[in-house]
Amino acid sequence: MPETKKNSISKLIGTLFGLFLICFILVNLYALGTFLYSTPSVEPVPEKGNMPPEKFSKTIEEPLGADHFHILDETVYSDVENAPICLACHGNFCHVKNEMLRSFYNMHTFFLACETCHLRPSAGEKLFFRWFDDKTGAVVEELVGTDGNYGAKIVPFKNNQRLDTFPKEALALDYMKFKDTYTEDEKKRIQGELMEHIDQEPITCEECHCKESYLNYADLGYTFVRSFELSRIEIVKISKEYEEFHLPTMFDPSVVKGK
């Protein structure tokens, strides 16, 4: 290689290296300046107003002497992904009236679409039910998880159409945004309009948890044993037949010992 060409290559490499070094120094100086002189890089604490309201989510704050003595796992932190518009307004813990069953109703919101209970087929109409993945919306053939934590919900469908789509979503979103500005009469009217497609008489506990169940558990993928269990849930019978059910003490060791 001729000497002059070799020199020019060396010069080019030297210049490039010099430029690189200058850039490196400038970046370092910027980083140093930022580190030393800018506002501390503390993440601003989210303001309460921007936090998701308590009722909308199962999410709880991390236990920090958090008054959640029994929270031993992460399940409680999981939330319904792609929550439907109903839950966005009412929250997962939306059932409050029925003292006997409200917690049980709420528990179902994590694995049943609202329409599964709140949409009653008219006479002669036949609805079908399948599990749909919360995240992807795909049909779930095999459940993964336990005790209601499947990341999927039982959704009614007909003519290959899911029936958990909210017909007046835009109105619902609008209502949530501006409800404080409405009069009571306006609120009532809009609420009525939003709930038009919802049946006044939802499917009851005993309609599902019975031998001739409204839901076909076997078709939904439940095992024979679990289907059998679901068709005779004790709590349903208790809620039906008792105002107050006194827990039996015959297996309570302290009582037995005392006797």
Partner: protein
Amino acid sequence: MKSRTNIMGLAIILVTLAVCPLTAPHLMAADVENCDLCHKYSGLGRIDESGKKHLFYVNDSLFQQSVHGKVRCKECHSEIEKYPHTNTKKVDCATVCHLIDPSTGENFSHATMIEKYELSVHGTKDAEGNLKEHAEDLAACIYCHENRIYQPVTGLAQKDQGVAQEILDRCLGCHNEEQWARTFYNHFTHRLHQRRTSRRMVELCVSCHEDTERMARHGLTVTGTFHDTFHWQGIKYGDPNAPNCITCHAPVGYFSHQIMPKNDARSAIHRDNLVRTCANLDGLQTCHPSATPSFAQGKIHPADFKIGVFEFKMKGLDRLRKITRGEMKPFQEVRAQQPAPEELTPLDYYQGLILQLIKYFYLMLIGGLISFMILHQVLDYFATRREMKEGGMH
């Protein structure tokens, strides 16, 4: 035929009773009442009238592995006798349960602990036994404690998690019941761990002690400025020996449930006890073995002017939020955010001035030093290149 059926039925009942957990209380599963039937669902919960969310979920398999895993639900939730569980009272941790305390042979209870706690600065009652003012602000048991899963260790040196079978075998040499021995092993070695990291400990304490309104109700100033101290820096950067709140407020010889006010002679931070607390000579690690009275008088929770500095920082964060949201331009009203000099005593003012000067001096020194170093390196690089060129070294 009928009598045969009856005999079979009787036999089944007898066999069932024979193997029934009631005959061996230490083997008893925690959930003999089958609470898990409902409480296994993580969504079991409701919002009460005040808008507070209540979750009633208990993971039974994890509960069995927890420190309360051998306690039946009803031993703590003794009020629950019917469904729905209306009008239930909060669990009283002083309740006597079926567990036998091996040290006394008597039924176990946290009552002794609670009695001590009640006499401490955090207790809800005063010396005469009357309820303190704003007692609702004071932390009850479950504010600090949750039901932990056992974390046994395999050895004392490394404290690796798990059960060392050879050690458990030593226990089983004398104690025939394996489940009992295992539980005892778990319990004992679990307590070798520090319950929570120093960072979590500080977070727990400041969750109350940084609450300005709550502290004001009790005539206290917030301890937020602990985050400005060298001790916190140690915790922040993961120094396992860095002291947390308990290290100083309940060192060896004191008890975390009996923290006393600092003007009480029984307090670890009473001025007469401070040297010993700072030295911590009896602890697993000594902290300041050569501590002197004047050293111990230093303020760990900087007060006065430093509180102003802390508040100023918080205002800075607030400004940052406003700037991010476009509600304020950078540097707008910055001067108006400065602490008013007339609010400060002359001593605080000059103390603050000196602190600021020191801060700026070091900022300039560090920035200048590193900048000059880099400049020097750059010039040196070019000088070397020039020399190489002139010297004909290519």
